[in-house]
Structure formats: C-alpha cells, structure tokens
C-alpha cells in the first residue's frame, strides 16, 4: 500500500468497470446472500432486516485492515467473503449462550462436569425446537409452491424429486425425462415461485 497516497478505487476495480460497477455488483451479491439466508428463526429475521448496501459499506470499511490494495480482483473477492462471512456469522450466532458455573470457593466436587460438557456438538432443546420450526417453514413453503402449478406438471414432479433427496442436475433431468436445458428452465420457474412464497410466509410471520 502506498502510504500517504489515497487509493484510486476506480483504477483498482478497472477490470470490473470501475468502482461504481464493482459497488453495484457487490450490492447485488449482498442481496443474494440475504435472500438465501433470511428465514423464520430469530437470526433469520435479523438477516431479513439487513440492508444490502450497508453490508457492502461494512465490507469496504474492513479494507483498512488490508495489507495490500494492489490486486483489484483479490480485493473484490475479499469483499465478497466479508459480506458472506458477516451474514453467516449472524445465522450461526447462538441465541442461547452457554452458561458456565463460576466457582467462588475453590474446587467443588462435580464442578468439572459442569464446566466441560460431554458433547459440545449436542443441541440444546431450544436449538432442536428452532430447527423443527425451520423444517415446518420449509414444508409449508414447498406445499404452497406446489399449489402454484398443475398437479401433474413437470414443476410439481421436480419439487417431489428434490424432497426425495435428488439434487444432481443430470440425474434430475434424466428422472424427469427432459433435456438439461429444459430442466434448467423448469428449475428457474420453480425457484422463483419458491422465493415469492418464502417472502410471503416471512411477511406473515
């Protein structure tokens, strides 16, 4: 970094059409991250309330920590990672902090068992309940998305196959008896409908 000289962001992102274009595309990226990760849980609602532009500005402010601002593409990718990591951190944040007993009178028998949980990955009842709510939300989302199409349609067939656990593009296309191009078009249609249903359900919640 050239100390004492203000960085030229238009030059830095020249390969991406300048700063304004890079900023607009990063905003578009932030929108996709928010749309994907927002949900019915407490953290999901927080994500749903995030402003994409503020998210990009937050990522940009972290460039002060950057050792070098020479490689524009590396900086652009770093900004995308900052956006993703920020939202992911909110999504994974525990709503219910782990309580640890603080000893006030030296060692007490049994205190070590309280300080060290047997299984750190074990879910608390609150987390299990939240996951159940999330599953119920998606079940409703899929039911309502299916209602937007004819019962015997390729769209409904695709939803059923994905619920069964299929996710590979070529396998799904083969099971539906369509070309991969046709599959892509059907997937796009269903996905857009699912997003609209998700927004409706989140508004109601």
């Amino acid at each position: 970094m050239n100390s004492g000289k203000p960085p030229d962001f238009d030059k830095l992102f020249e390969h991406r059409g300048g700063f304004a274009m890079a900023y607009a595309k990063l905003t578009a990226y932030a929108i996709t991250v928010i749309n994907k990760r927002k949900g019915p849980s407490k953290n999901g609602c927080i994500i749903g309330g995030l402003d994409a532009q503020e998210l990009v500005k937050h990522a940009l402010s972290r460039l002060v920590e950057c050792e070098s601002l020479e490689d524009g593409e590396a900086v652009y990718c770093l900004l995308r990672r900052h956006i993703d990591n920020y939202v992911r951190t909110i999504q994974k944040q525990k709503n219910h902090p782990t309580l640890v007993q603080i000893s006030t009178s030296g060692y007490e028998e049994g205190s070590s068992a309280i300080a060290e949980p047997e299984d750190e990955s074990a879910q608390t009842p609150a987390e299990t309940s939240e996951q159940k709510d999330e599953n119920e939300f998606h079940k409703e989302l899929l039911v309502q998305t299916k209602e937007k199409f004819e019962p015997q349609s390729a769209e409904v067939a695709l939803i059923d196959l994905v619920i069964e656990g299929w996710s590979e593009r070529s396998e799904l296309a083969a099971l539906m008896g369509v070309t991969t191009q046709k599959y892509d078009a059907i997937l796009k249609k269903v996905s857009r409908a699912a997003l609209a249903v998700k927004d409706q359900l989140l508004k109601k919640a």
Binding site: Y23, A28, T32, Q53, I163
Partner: protein
C-alpha cells in the same frame, strides 16, 4: 417416511437456485444489473450517485489507518534497548540523578508499579532524554 430435515434441504435447494450465482452476477450487463437491483428495491441510478462520496469516505478511512500504522511503526523504532543493563543499574543511575528513589518524579508520570518496564521507561525519559 421423509424426515423433516428433508423439507429444509429441498426448500433451501430451490431458494439457492432462485438467486444468481457469483458468475451470473459478474456476467450481468448494466441493464440486467439494474433490473435485478430494482426487483430487490435498489435503484441503480441512486446507488451510482452515492459512489463518489463512498469512495471519498473510504479513502480517508484508509489514509487515517495508514497514518496510525506509520505512527506506531515510528514509535516502535524509537524504542531503546536497555536489556544489557540490570534493574539495579537503572535504579542506581536514577538515584544518582535525583538523590533518593523517593525524589524521582514518579507521580507526574502516572507511575503505577515497580516493574522492570517501568524502570526502563523512567530511565529512557529521565536519563537518556538529557544525554
């Protein structure tokens, strides 16, 4: 019977595919980008109008940070290595100058402890400064 988890997985599958990928965003034309932003409540023209101010603000944030780092580096380069002196030697020289330890202007310097670091700091400020 399908597990409940399967619905979450399937729901997320469709939601993920409802959004353009990084590559698709990169390949968007300005018109496509404007359309995508607009369908998500962002006006590209308004956004573009803000970018000059954002750049300016960011540049000043970076300059401020650089100045802070440069100041810190300078302060670190001014650190005098006193490791070859024992603590007793440092105290002795300070005592020689001020007569008694009690007369060393400690309070004026927010003297908090009798640690080695504090003696070194006193030595640097009160002895080396006058040399």
């Amino acid at each position: 019977m399908k597990s409940n988890h399967q619905y979450s997985k399937a729901g997320n599958f469709f939601i993920d595919h409802s959004q353009p990928t990084e590559d698709e965003i990169d390949a968007m034309t300005p018109a496509e980008l404007a359309n995508f932003l607009s369908s998500n409540g962002v006006n590209l023209a308004e956004l573009n109008a803000e970018t000059a101010q954002i750049q300016e603000h960011l540049a000043s944030q970076i300059l401020f940070s650089q100045a802070g780092k440069a100041r810190l580096e300078k302060a670190q380069s001014n650190v005098v290595d006193l490791s070859e002196f024992s603590q007793e030697q440092l105290i002795e020289e300070l005592s020689n100058k001020y007569g008694r330890i009690e007369d060393i202007p400690l309070a004026a310097r927010n003297f908090k402890s009798l640690s080695r670091e504090e003696w070194e700091s006193l030595y640097t400020d009160l002895i080396l400064r006058d040399k």
